[in-house]
């Protein structure tokens, strides 16, 4: 794997003394999708803005494709596309013109075939002659993506791409992201929707109070930090957990018809076999057995609150 984006000890302090980034270091591999999770004000947008050149770093270095974002800003920025969090578009401009403007701004001549390809891919072709103010919110978000893709970036930042969009559009966005990944584009997205990170990311980074708390492969993270639970459904409800099962630290659900057993997926012995034997010996009849793994959301909440998942 080749590192396409390298961030080293990046710090950003504002004039009022607020430290938005406290020494963030991060390597992003070519072609991967990294989801940055974090509460509001954690520093996600500041991190993106700094890499993209909107905010000046206080210290630290960032290279994109080996180009320093300050000393070789032209080469670095040409590789980056940014879809901002807020919908910021000139309302009276036509869709086609605004995409062409973005392409020109990044140093590329007007290439009608390329612009057409982008607009078609984003289902904007029929709207190309419309003024932006005539478009729906979802369409405007697509225009932002089209503008970011107009100069064929190798790294795409999506700052909360699906904030406030309906379920259908969110699914569409995920498909667009998947297609871009197929085309070899590296994608860094920030999101509040854990399910989004869970659905599309290869790696997950958790940022909180200006510090990168963790970056890990999504599956590894879930496997390492996630607890698994077995829910043993009983054919007949019980009032209390039999004493013979006390050793398993079970909990009984409200209806008394299910026992919940929590275990560590990485332990040498999960204790599942013994549990099921003991349940049978206690004379309980099983109706069903279900397993459940911690979601990324639970892991994230626990990380930020400082408790183990």
């Amino acid at each position: 794997m080749t590192t396409i984006l390298s961030i080293r000890d990046l710090r950003k302090s504002y004039a009022d003394g607020f430290e938005a980034l406290k020494g963030v270091s991060l390597d992003i591999e070519q072609g991967e999708i990294l989801a940055l999770l974090g509460p509001n004000g954690a520093g996600k947008t500041t991190l993106i803005s700094t890499v993209c050149g909107i905010t000046t770093p206080t210290s630290g270095t960032v290279t994109v494709g080996g180009h320093d974002i300050q000393t070789e800003f032209r080469a670095a920025r040409r590789m980056i596309g940014l879809v901002p969090q807020e919908i910021a578009l000139e309302p009276f401009e036509k869709v086609w013109n605004t995409v062409r403007f973005s392409r020109g701004l990044f140093g590329y001549g007007s290439d009608n075939a390329r612009i057409e390809e982008i607009l078609r891919k984003l289902s904007l072709w029929d709207k190309r002659k419309n003024a932006i103010k005539e478009l729906s919110g979802g369409m405007k978000r697509r225009v932002l993506i089209a503008k970011a893709l107009a100069h064929e970036p190798r790294v795409l930042f999506l700052d909360e791409p699906t904030a406030g969009v309906d379920v259908e559009l969110r699914k569409d966005m995920w498909e667009i992201v998947a297609e871009l990944k197929k085309a070899g584009v590296t994608i860094i997205l920030t999101t509040h929707y854990i399910e989004e990170a869970e659905a599309i990311a290869d790696r997950v980074g958790v940022i909180d109070k200006g510090e990168l708390r963790l970056v890990q492969d999504k599956n590894t993270l879930m496997a390492q930090m996630g607890k698994k639970q077995i829910e043993v459904m009983l054919a007949d409800p019980i009032q209390a957990i039999p004493d013979s099962l006390a050793v398993h630290n079970l909990t009984l659900n409200g209806n008394g018809d299910a026992l919940v057993y929590t275990y560590d997926t990485h332990a040498d012995r999960t204790g599942i076999t013994t549990l099921l034997n003991d349940v049978a010996q206690a004379g309980l009849v099983l109706r069903d057995v279900q397993t459940r793994q911690s979601s990324l959301e639970e892991i994230f909440v626990n990380l930020v609150s400082g408790e183990p998942a």
Partner: protein, 253 residues
């Protein structure tokens, strides 16, 4: 140089001009025509000639400057303030462009628009009064330099402004009085001696005097001073813009 970016910004800004053609083009033509009707014909007919030039013709250079300066400032300030207001400035800041390219794009477009309107007013004026241009190259140079320098000033205003009210503050409260008191409608030799001296501190006097000289050979101040004044003004605006981009003042946090 990122020429594509300059062309993209320029084209984008000019498109705004053509979208709002009535506002950008018809309104200055209408207001200037009204000036000619009121000052040139109605009142001007009762005013004697100024150094051999009819009053209606005398005020033409000043009227052109009035429109050109106001439009240059408003076009350039609006051009850069609007992206700030809408939030679309993110794209400009994250693009591979430096401040020189941004300034050329925005200021070039604003200067072009005001130059265009200046020429339209000149043509309009010929329908009302007899105009002669003794020094056409000097006239063109003064007109172009004025368009450029006040577009630069407008760009600074647009960066500085944090709301729409501030955008109109500088043209209305600073530039309009300077233009009206800068000899647009009179020769400063008509003023009492004390006011003649005070007026020399108004930079617009040099601009209008030089521009009028290019028409009729009449000048309130030596032509060299006029040229120097506009060059110093342009240089100062460029230096301020250079500082703005170096420090990121009001644009890059």
């Amino acid at each position: 140089m990122n020429w594509s970016a300059i062309a993209a910004i320029y084209r984008f800004e000019m498109a705004r001009f053509f979208r709002t053609l009535a506002q950008s083009f018809l309104s200055p033509v209408l207001s200037t025509s009204l000036y000619f009707v009121v000052f040139g014909t109605a009142i001007g007919s009762r005013i004697q000639e100024v150094e051999g030039v009819s009053y209606g013709a005398f005020i033409v250079p000043g009227l052109i400057m009035l429109s050109v300066v106001m439009l240059a400032i408003s076009n350039a300030s609006f051009g850069i303030y609007f992206p700030k207001f809408l939030g679309t400035i993110y794209e400009l800041l994250s693009a591979p462009v430096n401040f020189i390219e941004i300034v050329i794009g925005y200021v070039g477009a604003a200067a072009t628009k005001s130059l265009f309107v200046g020429l339209v007013i000149l043509v309009t004026a010929t329908f009302f009064v007899d105009i002669r241009i003794e020094h056409p190259f000097a006239m063109a140079a003064f007109l172009i330099l004025s368009c450029l320098s006040f577009s630069l000033l407008g760009f600074i205003v647009g960066i500085w402004a944090s709301n729409f009210e501030q955008i109109s503050l500088v043209p209305q409260l600073v530039v309009t009085p300077l233009i009206f008191l800068g000899g647009t409608f009179y020769s400063i030799s008509m003023l009492p001696p004390v006011w003649q001296t005070i007026t020399l501190f108004n930079p617009v006097v040099y601009l209008i005097s030089g521009f009028r000289w290019s028409f009729y050979g009449l000048a309130d101040v030596p032509i060299g001073f006029s040229l120097l004044a506009i060059l110093v003004f342009t240089g100062t605006c460029l230096a301020v813009i250079g500082w703005i981009f170096k420090t990121g003042w009001r644009i890059r946090s």
